[in-house]
Amino acid sequence: LCEQVQVLPTLSICCIIMSNQNRKAPHKKESILELNKLIDSKCRVKCLGGRELVGTLRGYDELVNLVLDDADEFLRDPEDHNKITDKKRKLGLVVVRGTQVSLVSPEDGLEEIANPFMASEEEME
């Protein structure tokens, strides 16, 4: 029996242990992203594909689908879709698909700084 246990890869043993725990404890909705702290505050949401939105977070679910109120979309450079401009367009009350979300961050407490890496490059030269 000991020999058989050694052959089993460690990962599958961990999975067995975890599933036993879930049966005993009640299912808890757990996310490493605490969106309840951001409710009713302005959030910046970056999507896969480059879209950027800013709006007031009114709701969310465990799959990170979001409800944003008074949302604005930041428009990208028509030539280069990787460059973001300052132009915005109003969207209003929107749902953002969790599968397409790459970043959610609060808008307050954010400021743009000069590129710190550019300065160190100049020093090296």
Partner: protein, 93 residues
């Protein structure tokens, strides 16, 4: 507001009315929402697709999809109930 809105409930409320969908790239679709599923695949009626014209850069190509369509939820990024304000691609074409 202490009660939070569930995203899928908001989509459910939009069934029967116009909805504006932003896809992952530069494509947008406006149509009447007939229904959706867990993956947010959508059934839209009288849908109109607005996408950048590949042949003329800077132009929008408008395609009227005449029948009821099934829109794959894979690249659906933003859903906006209502047919969109004046800033939409729809308004500019």
């Amino acid at each position: 507001m202490s009660t939070r809105i569930l995203p899928l409930e908001l989509i459910d409320k939009a069934i029967g009315s116009k909805i504006w969908i932003l896809m992952r790239g530069e494509t947008e679709i406006v149509g009447t929402l007939r229904g959706f599923d867990d993956y947010v695949n959508l059934v839209l009626d009288d849908a109109v697709e607005y996408s950048p014209d590949a042949r003329n850069p800077g132009e929008i190509c408008k395609t009227e999809l005449e029948s009821e369509i099934l829109l794959n939820g894979n690249h659906v990024t933003v859903l906006i109930p209502g047919s969109g304000p004046e800033d939409s691609l729809a308004a500019s074409s």
